[in-house]
Each structure stands twice: as C-alpha cells, then as structure tokens.
Symmetry: C2
Subunit: 779 residues, 2 copies
C-alpha cells in the first residue's frame, strides 16, 4: 500500500514505491531556510534525486543564445547539491540494506509537523533471511541554524554483525534536467576540494564551486551507543569522508548512531575560517545532544503553531494539507536570514533554485501574518541586492531599481527577455510586500533601514518607465504582467495598480522618514511627481463589455479555441508558440484577478463580479500560482463552492502532484495559496487599510479557524456556519472589521458576530477541460 | 593612394590597403547567382576573408537556447566556404609573391560592369629586387552556370625562374564571427573528403558537409602558354589538389596560365555523378576557351544593360554607384535558378548566408522590371519551399504557409521568436512579389504553376491569423512588422495592408485559374472569406494627430529621447534593450512609410505627407533597408533634395561602408534601394495598376534615364528638368501614365511630357544625429 495517510499532524507514507520516491523526497524534505535536505532514504539508495542545499550557494554557468541581444544576462546561476551528509549505510552480515532486494516486512516514513523531524521505520529481511529493524529520525534544526542531525538505530532480530558507514560525500553523481549540454557539463562535479580532515568520529570537507568560487564546508561528528566489540574508523580523502563502525549485536539488541552535521558557506571566508565555523556548529550540536535538539525543535514549533495554526473542521485531508503547507513555508523561511526564499524553497533543484516574485506576493503575506521576522529577513535579502537592481535598471536605460525575474544572488538570470527585462511588476511586488509588512508590524526600524530605500528605488523605476500621454494619463507601456500567456503589453492593469501603490507607499515612507529620504536624494518635486503619476495611472476598462482589460487591447484579441484544444495540449506553453498565446484571450494564471485581490480597493463589487466571470472563462491555470488567488476572489463574489475547489487545488498541488513536477521540489507559492485561499478567501482577510475580515464557510465544512499576528497582537478567528468569533490570544486589543462593520476586540473578551448572507454570485464557467475538481469534504 | 576611382563603368581600387582588403573583397566579388567568389588576391594572402560559395550549400548546427520554447527551431544553417579554387601562388626565384613584403610599384584591381570580369594588375619588386608584372582576369560565367575561370599572366622584368602553384583547397582555415563557441566549432573544417583524383593538369575534389550531408564537387583544369623549360605536375590528397608549374622565363617574356573551375553540389547525387558533372563543366569551359567565355560574358551583359541601364547626369559618383548596384543585383540573381537570393547575395558570410523578406520586397522589384526571368526563378525557389512553410504554419497553429524569417533551404532558422514566429509579413511580402511579377510580365504559366499556390497558401495564413472583432473589423494581432524596433504588436498597418493585398490577389488568381484553385481545394466560400477579411481589414489611424499608426497604440507610446542619445549609441539595438525600443516611438526602418510605397493606393496624398513627416522624425535608419524607401516617399511628397540624400545613402551604403559591415558582404536590399530610389523616387514608378510614372529631377542633377521591361515591352524613360520622354525600345506599345495623365507610347514614337510643379512639401526633420548627409552632385 502506498500513498499518504491522512492525519492532522503528520505526513506518512507506508511502503517503498520506487516510482514515487523522487516526489516523496520533496514532500519529506527538511529545511530551516538555510540548510535543505531532501527526504532520501538513509542508505542513499534506491533514490530519486539526492539533494543537500545551502541557501544562496550556487554555481555559475554561461547562458547560451542562438541570437544574442543587448542586456541579455551572460551568466546563469544554479543551486548545487553540496556535500551530502545524509548517507548512513548499513551492512547486515555483509549484505547491504537495500530495499530493492530482500523483503520489507514494514516500511514507512513520517514527517511530523509538531516535532519538525522526519522519522523512518523499516523492518527488513535480507535476501538470506536475516532481519533487522531500522529506526531513524532526522532533523534540520530551527534553533541551531548550521546544524542537522540524524538519530539512527538498528535492532537486529538475529545475532548479526552490523557494519555502519556514515558519509560526507561531495560531487555525488546526479542527473541534470537541463536542456543545454554545456550547462549540464558545468554542473557535473562542480565542487573542487580545498581541504579535508578527519580524526576519531569527526571529519570535515571544504570545497569551492568551480565557476562561482563560493566555498562550502561540511562537518560531521558521531556518537555511538554500543559498547561491545566495537571497531570504528574514520577515513577521508577529497570528496569523501567516511566513518565506519562494525559491531556484533545480538538479537533484540540495539545499535545506535547519532550523526551531527554542520554546514556553512561563504563567498569570502577562508578555508580555515569556514572549517572552524562548521566544526563549531557540530561541537555545539553534540553538546546539546540529539534529545536536546529535538526538544528545541519542538518548542520552536509549538510557538509557531500557537501563532499560525489553521484548523479545518469536516475535511481531514485539507486539514493535513494546510498544516503541511504551513510547515513547509516555515521551513523555507524560518532561518533564511537575508537569503532568498526560492520558488521551491530548499526542497529540490526546480527552477535552478531561483527566487521569483512569488516570494513577495504569495509567500511573504503568510509569513508577515504568522512569522513576521521571517518576512522581514526575506525583504532584507531583497534590500541587500538593491545595488544589483539599480545597476540592472541602468543597463535597461531606467532609473531606480529593476529587480530580477529570477535569481539566487540578486543578478538577473533569465535568458528570456520578455521576462528578464520586461516583467517590471517584480519591483512593484517587492514594494507591495514591504508596505504590507510595515503596515502589519509597524516595524519602523525596518522601514527606516531597509523598507524606505526599497520603496524609493522601485518608485523611481515606475517614474522612469511610464510617461504622461497626450490625454494626461500615466501609461506604462511594453511590460510583462503576471500572466505568462501575455507579454510586453501596454498598461497591464495589475502592473499599473501595483505601481500606483508603490508610488503612494514611497511617498508616504519618505514623509515618515525624511532623513532617509534626504539621504536617498528624494526631493519634494520627486514625491510630487510620484503622486501625479499615481493619480493619473491608466487603468484600461472595456466599456462595451463592462470589464477591466488585463492590458490595453486584451478584450479585442481573438478568443482561444478552447473547444478545439485537447486535454493533452495543457500546459499550453509546451504545445503552442508564444506569439499565439500572447495575442489571444487565454490566461495562464490570475493577473487581473490577482490585481482584484491585492488592489481590491481599486474595484467596485460589481466590477469584481463581472471581471471574475470574464477572466474565469479564459484562465487555464497552467501555473501553480493561480488557484489560491482564484479562491480568494471566488469567495468574495459569493462563489463559496468554487472557492473551496480552488483552495483544495492549491492545497493538494504538491501532495497530489497535480503539475507532475513535485520531483523537482515543492511549490512554495501554491502552498502559500492554500493558506491564502482559506484566510483571505474563506476568512476574507484584506489589508488595504488595517486588517479586515469577511468570513464565510464554504458548503460542507463544519468550521475553521486561523491564527494571525497583527502589530504585536496574536489573535484567532473562528468561523462557524452562521457566525465568526474574534479572540485576542496575546498582546493589545485588535482593531478590525467584520463584513465591513468596525470591531474592537479586547484581550480576554472574544467577540462573536453573525455572518450576513452572501452576495448574489455571477454565473461563471471555465475553459473546456479546465474546470477545477469539485471538492467534497474528505473527497 | 587608396579608395575607389570614379568611373561610369568600372570600380577600381589603386594600391593595396590591407585594412580595406576585407571590404573590397566584398565589393569585388564575382557571382552568377550559383557560384560566388570573393575578390581575394590570386595568391591567397594577404587576405581579409576568403570565400567561395555555392548557392544553397550550407552546414547545419544546433541552435542553443538559455530557455527553450515551443516551436523554436533546433537547427541553424550557415553558408559554407567551399573548396577554394581561386588560389594561384607565384614564386619568383623561390620568393613567394606576397604584397606585404617587397614593394608594389603599381597595384590595382578593377571590376568591369560591362565585361563582368575582375582584373588585377601588379608590378612587384621582390625583397631581393626582382621585378615581375602580374595580370589576372577572373570571371564567374553568366552563360556557363557551373564555371569560373582565371586568366593569369606573369611578365618578369628580369630573367627568372617562376613557379606557379594552382590549388583546389577545401577546409581553408577561416575566422568565424559567431557568438556561440559550439556553432563556431561546427563550422571549423566542415567538409569531409569523399573523393579526390588528379591527372595531368586536371583535378577534382568531392566532399560533403559533416552535419547537413550536402555534397560538393570542385574540379579544375589548366592551360599553359609557355613552351620552354616547363616542368608541370599535379598532386592531390584529401583537402588539397595542387598543380605546380615551373618555368624559366626571360625578361619581357610571358608566362600565362588559364585555370578553369567547375562547381556543383547536391543533396542527393552520388560522388561519381557529382564528379562527372563538374568535370563536364570544366571540359565545356576548356572547349569554349577563356576568350570565348569572356565574349559570352560581354554579350550577356550587353543585353542586360540594354534592358536595365540607369543613367545619372551630373553626379558621376552616383552614376557609378547605381551601375555597381545593378551589376551586383544581376550577379546575385542571374543564375540562381530555384535557389534563394540571400541578403548578401554570394558576396560574403553575413547573416549566415540567409535569405530574408528583403529579397521579395527590395530586390525582386528591380529584377522584375529588368531581368524578369531572374525574379521568376527566385519566386520558384519560394514555391519549392511551400511544403516547409505549410508545415511551419502547422507548428505555429495556423493554416496556410508561414515562410521563414531567415533560411537557406526554406526551414526557419531564426532563434529569436518575435522574428521567427511572428514576422508573418514575410508571407505577405512573397505574395506581393508574386502579384507584382505576374502583373509586370503577364506570365500566366508561372501564375498557374507556382504563383497561385503561393498566393492561396499565404492568403490562408492571414485568414487563420486574423479575426473579426466585435465591431466587425478584421484584426491581425500580435505580429512583428518590418520595423525591428517594434515587435509583436496588434494591427501593424504594413502587415494588414500587405495581407489585404495578398487576400485580394489570391482571390483574383483563383478566379483566373479555377482548375488550380480546385486542385488546392479553394472553395467559393473561402474566396468570399478572403474578400470579407480584406474589406474589413483594420488600419489604425490616430484622429487626434491625423496620422496612421504604425501599429495599434503606437502614437500613444512614449517618445524616444533622441536629444539624450549620443551618436555612439547607434545602432540602438546594440546599446538598448528590446523592451525599451519596442515600447517607444523609435523606428529602425521604414514600416508605415514602406506601406505607403507598396500600398500607396491606400493613402491620400495629404495622409502621405502627414505620415511621412511624423515617421521621418522618429526613424533612425539603423537598418540598411530604409533609405531607399524614404527616398521614394520623400520624392512623392515633394521633398526632392531629401530624396536625393536618401538615394545617395542607399547607393553608397556599401561603397562607403556606412554600416561598417561590408566586410561580411554587400547589402543586396540597399543596392536595390538605390535603384528604387531613382526609379520609383525620382521616376515616380508605381504599379498599383499597370505601370505609372511621376518623374521629377532632384536639384543638382542634369538628367537621368532608366530602362524597364513591362509585359514584353522594353522602354526607356528620360527625365530632364522640365520634361520627361518615354520611348519604346522593343516590343509592343506601352500603356502608362505621366503624373496621372494616361499615356500610350508607340514603338518608334517617343513621347515627351512636361513635368508639373511639385506639391508643397511638409516640413520634416529627423532625429538628432540622424539627419542624412546632404547630397551635392559629385560631393
């Protein structure tokens, strides 16, 4: 039997299922935002794709072009599988434990959202009939950022000799799914050995990446809990350090090995410095001991769930999925500390390990309202790259900062210019997240030290990109919006509205921090120009159809022939040329609909209903970024069942592998979309001005609740069929609103309000073959 | 002294000037449209870039992509420097004749437009003081398509031993100016030896290209006119066949060697068959002898000039340039015979030897009215690729035929999708040339066998690409027009008007050839749909400004900051990103202005004047395709001096190396633009309905004349300051018009008409730093 077991606090997979190994290695990945370990088996094989990642550690490679162009990035960056410390091999009387051979009497893996550990249990009978039980527990510490640890226990059911080999292995051979053979070659054995040392149960390996020059160190140390007949030895050379222990263990006895791993990397630090850093990490972990690490991990997660938990009553599978989502979002961002949160977190090599705009628009809102320090750290990473973004804007002939479409270190890595030079909304998205974070936390120190500069430099980009036309409107022409089935269009509504917010936010921040504004050279005239541009921003609207245009001219474009498109033709980008996608009314992912979520203040309820229906019929959701947003707007316009369908699609994107690519890592934005669909969809969270709610349960759910933090107040919203209850858990009173009615919630005094009838929903339909699966609780 | 000497019938360069060698190898190139020989020195070195090309012979290479996409071509094609037969080395008493050493007492090369030969004269003193005179004459035969020949004569001024080595050399090492190292590697030594043979004075080498598999054979044979003390020998191995002759020649004596070259290639024929073909070609040439080849060449050109000559009185340099242009256009197209006419002809490796839309829109009109059979042959080449174009349209999700942006064999080779998948005007351009050729020749056989299918398949493309919008207009969205500083726009006026003509032409051709239409499955309903689309074609017009839009929304875009753009920033595409060029009102090359030439019937005179002024101020002419077209419209709106400036710019593009890239080959479209500027600009030729003229001399010229062929009538138009004279040279009477007044010109009865006053011209200006050089006759 294979498949995930439904449980509110764990994700468990029984049995092996080699075909599913690679995707379960992604779902079982552990990370703290700094170190990422894919959920491979301890013994290394069978395997899907091994992966050990350090946030920000990458290799460079040339980007090839059939026809080059001005401003095309010359170098790409790719996340690297660094020195693998996960491997612990077991030989039972000279027979290697390999689950492809012999017989697994029992086997399961279990990711625990409360302990933050991955447990594995296997009872295995070797081909010659010897039985062992193997239990392991693995963690990547939230509290000790440079540390991972594995507790590995073998219980033989016969008297046997056991040999355990524990490795640090660099340049592990892996397959690269990249199109260009030169890029694949650049990633083959990318690490050059700088140093290795081993003594007793400890070893350290230091390497650097061939082209990027970034240096990585990995250290391991071991504890063994077996006393008799022990023979242990360490050897190390170049790419491999191996600790070997042999012991005779009687039936029913235990052999226990604890492995402590320390990781670090640097662009500047010397070999001795890095070595010292990882050895110190391991020494600290040993001093804490494994049980201590587990305790710390549990306490960290207890606090997280107290701040962030979401409950879903009546749909256990969705309950599991949303906790899975929150857990992985925490893992991606908890200890990133001024590094990016990549599209896949640190769960796999997908998208080359790059961070995109998804982080700011989908992931950061979750963190802002649950783990605000993690959101702050991610924005500090953006701030640390502002010089590169200013330089890039200069290359593109613009003032201000143009943040990259995709990157690891902040330099543009997109070889596709309609994204890499024209998707300027990325900069507006960053500004949006800055303003959202500052509004939600009132973190004036961040605003002064980092936020204002981000807002100013991005506002300057818009002032530079746009122009006032002959009618006085402020136009932003020739840009690529969120929908990747359109590109290089004039006046993308999303982009223009996000730019409008950006310009206003920058003006406000400069007024709150005049000394910062002065340092950045912002004059009163510049602020006035921002406000003038914001006030005159063009927002294309088709009066004939009564809907907003995704971009100017969109509604005049030809309709896509959905009836003539077969289910196998999706995702369309693999089967249709760009030019044809771009010039027709086919939408990959929420764009205008996303604008209606983020800038809901710019649309009337009637426009939202009409727009939603119009774009719903043309949106194919070939992107994992879409369903969560569609859920939010579906809920707002009164389509509660459809919202539920989309929340479920977002929530199960990875667990059900809906896009057939979970083997390359989880979709952080989709995981975030599950939360957003529940909290902003069912819960109606909006933050155009403070935090406001308009909760409404979808049919079939018995209730739900979510916990948020706003300006130091932790609170919970519980939603029942007819009413919602607001309760402050800690901190000062909360000012909010319920379905438009202002509300003040004092600590210790929960407030319950009844839920009004929903609005009359518009009639909507989706493209042929793209109707979302109807969600039935537990279905 | 270096530089071209001004002469009406030759192009001559005195002196060596190594820095200019590579560009003069282009201007001195010889070709018949099948074989192309760059104008290298006989002795091979010093050299710029050697080049021997066969039309249609290419090597394949992978096209690399940093990010791939659906429909991107996987393979590129590049013209190959085939077996070089031009080399004749001379040793004077063991000292190689190398003009970098010793002293050139005199040296010049001279291309003769009437004899069709390249003559070279050198008097050289060796480093040790021995003097020789070398005279050579080289031709690529217009009459014997597979033949080139070199007459080589040495006259020693001292008694010396001469050794002459005459080579056939394959895989000559050359430098590749390609960005991608893999592509360069693929072109390094691309020929694999299949066969070589040598006997007496003859040799043959057969090779095939490594990846394309195309096979090429080259043969040589020699005649020697020296009797005493001759020692001759031939050797051949693999990539080199060498004929060596040693002779003692007294002072004032002569050593003469004639080298006959035969070339052939095939995708299918066997080694023995190709060998036989080139040996037969050489045998035929030897039988004709060199003097016979020269005679045939002269007669061929006498006939050409009788049909095509253009005279310019009062500007000798322009006179030379226009004959240079006509001569090279003839060379590019004369004997192509169902092969493409490449953008550079066969004069160099520029643009990889690809053909573009330039051929149909710029080059073919010249040939249609001067050497109509060459135009027909070039269109037959397009017809031979219609299957590939239909397949390509299918890949792009369209019906009909989508001809390639760039290709050698008809398969799309563009790695840049906004050109390679969206520049659909190419197909309309081909249809335009078909209709123009048929109208000018009344060649019904071509129309039935080739033309109608081309018109039908291209009309189907437009019917598939466009759609009727809610207002009933027929829109063609998301396409790239001629201006390469715009891309993927809605309703490009040029494209829509060329599509409109295409649809009408197809309907008419089907009505004239119902049996062909039936075979192609064209129904009455399909023809009606074409006409409906043509009748409702959207042509964007800005009522506020009173000008046509190059594409929908163009006039709302931001103006380019010309004042802030330095002269060094041109061409802008090397210094500005695509996105910024595309979204602003900056025009690389005539687009709307070209529409006003080709579809002048779709604009009023007032619109032409207003449009010309509007786009003139925004056109930077970073393309060599622009000046000729601007000349035509400048002349039409009454700006005679400006037309003269632009004619001159087009005419001197190659001779003055205005784009700094003549070293890679001549610009066929610009050479054609010189003719078009004179004939359609000063002469006012239009063919929207028959042929019509509106001649008007520019200031400073004393007169001009041009010869054309229309429906079997050869005629001449002579233009003086106040009048124009129309004279039939052969064939039936000509129906035409002069400045709108109908005119019938009977054979033997020249008709003279006075020239009316020009229209009041609009006030025009060009972008800063992009004002054309003012032409002063002889200046």
């Amino acid at each position: 039997m294979t498949g995930y077991l439904v449980d509110p606090w764990t994700l468990r997979w029984d049995g092996l299922s080699i075909a599913d190994l690679r995707r379960t290695e992604s779902t079982f990945a552990l990370s703290n935002g700094h170190i990422g370990l894919r959920g491979t088996l301890d013994e290394g094989e069978p395997r899907g794709l091994p992966g050990t990642y350090l946030n920000g550690f990458f290799e460079r490679h040339a980007l090839p072009y059939g026809e080059s162009g001005y401003g095309y990035p010359e170098e790409g960056q790719t996340i690297v599988n660094v020195t693998d410390g996960k491997v612990i091999r077991l030989l039972v009387e000279d027979e290697p434990l390999d689950m492809r051979y012999g017989r697994a009497v029992e086997h399961h893996r279990e990711l625990d959202f409360r302990t933050g550990t991955l447990r594995r249990f296997t009872e295995w009978e070797s081909p010659t009939g010897r039985r062992v039980r193997v239990r392991s527990e693995r963690l990547v510490s939230f509290t000790q950022r440079a540390v991972a640890a594995i507790h590995y226990e073998v219980e033989p059911l016969d008297d046997v000799q056991l040999v355990v080999q524990s490795d640090l292995l660099a340049n592990e051979p892996i397959e690269h799914e990249v199109g260009d053979p030169r890029v694949a070659a650049a990633l083959d054995a990318p690490l050059i050995g700088d140093f290795s040392a081993a003594s007793e149960a400890k070893a350290v390996l230091v390497h650097h990446a061939r082209n990027s020059g970034l240096r990585v160190a990995a250290a391991m140390d071991h504890e063994i809990e077996v006393t008799d007949n022990l023979r242990a030895g360490m050897e190390s050379n170049g790419d491999l350090a191996r600790y070997t222990v042999a012991a005779d263990v009687g039936a029913g006895g235990r052999f226990t090995l604890t492995k402590y791993l320390g990781y670090g990397w640097s662009a500047q630090r010397s070999v001795p410095a890095l070595r010292a850093q990882v050895e110190a990490a391991v020494a600290g972990a040993r001093q804490t001991r494994f049980a201590g690490l587990v305790d710390e991990q549990r306490r960290f997660l207890d606090d997280f769930w107290a701040a962030a938990d979401v409950t879903v009553d009546g749909d256990p599978e969705l309950q599991q999925a949303v906790r899975f989502a929150l857990f992985h979002l925490l893992q991606a961002g908890a200890r990133g500390e001024s590094r990016a949160i990549a599209g896949k977190g640190l769960t796999g090599p997908g998208y080359d390990g790059h961070a995109f705009w998804d982080t700011e628009i989908f992931v950061l809102p979750v963190l802002t309202y649950t783990v605000p320090d993690a959101a702050r750290d991610a924005l500090r990473w953006r701030h640390s790259t502002v010089d590169k973004a200013v330089e890039r804007a200069g290359v593109l002939g613009q003032r201000g900062a143009a943040f990259p479409w995709r990157s690891i270190d902040g330099a543009e890595c997109s070889a596709y210019w309609p994204a890499g030079t024209a998707a300027f909304h990325v900069s507006g998205d960053i500004a949006y997240a800055v303003a959202q974070y500052v509004a939600a936390t009132d973190d004036r120190e961040f605003e002064a030290d980092h936020g204002t500069e981000l807002l100013v430099q991005t506002a300057r980009l818009w002032a530079s990109l746009g122009h006032h036309d002959q009618h006085g409107g402020f136009r932003i022409d020739g840009v690529t919006g969120p929908d990747e089935y359109s590109a290089v269009m004039d006046n993308n509504t999303y982009t223009n509205l996000i730019a409008q917010r950006n310009l206003e936010s920058a003006a406000q921040a400069c007024e709150r921090h005049p000394e910062v504004a002065g340092r950045l050279g912002v004059s009163g005239a510049e602020i006035s120009a921002w406000r003038a541009a914001a006030n005159r921003m063009v927002v294309p609207f088709d009066r004939l159809l009564g809907v907003h245009e995704q971009a100017e001219g969109f509604t005049s474009h030809a309709e896509w022939d959905f009836a003539g498109t077969s289910p196998d033709d999706y995702p369309l980008l693999l089967n249709r040329p760009y030019f044809d996608l771009y010039r027709k009314q086919v939408v990959k992912q929420a764009d205008l609909v996303l604008a209606m979520q983020l800038r809901g203040d710019a649309f009337t309820p009637e426009q939202k209903a009409a727009n939603f229906a119009y774009y719903e019929a043309r949106t194919v959701r070939d992107s994992s970024l879409s369903a969560g947003t569609q859920a939010v707007l579906a809920a707002e316009v009164g389509l509660a069942q459809l919202a539920y369908d989309y929340v479920s699609e977002a929530a199960f994107t990875d667990l059900h592998d809906l896009h057939h690519n979970v083997h390359n890592g989880l979709h952080m934005a989709s995981l975030a979309g599950a939360w957003t669909g529940i909290v902003a969809g069912f819960g109606g969270l909006r933050d155009h001005s403070g935090v406001e709610f308009a909760p409404r349960l979808p049919p079939g759910l018995d209730g739900l609740s979510f916990r948020l933090t706003y300006r130091g107040t932790r609170f919970r919203v519980r939603v029942a069929a007819d009413s919602a209850t607001y309760e402050v858990l800690s901190g000062p009173a909360l000012e909010t609103s319920h379905h438009g009615e202002p509300l003040r919630v004092e600590p210790g005094v929960p407030v319950t309000r009844s839920i009004p009838d929903p609005p009359a929903p518009p009639v909507v339909s989706q493209p042929t073959h793209r109707v979302p699966r109807r969600r039935v609780p537990g279905g």
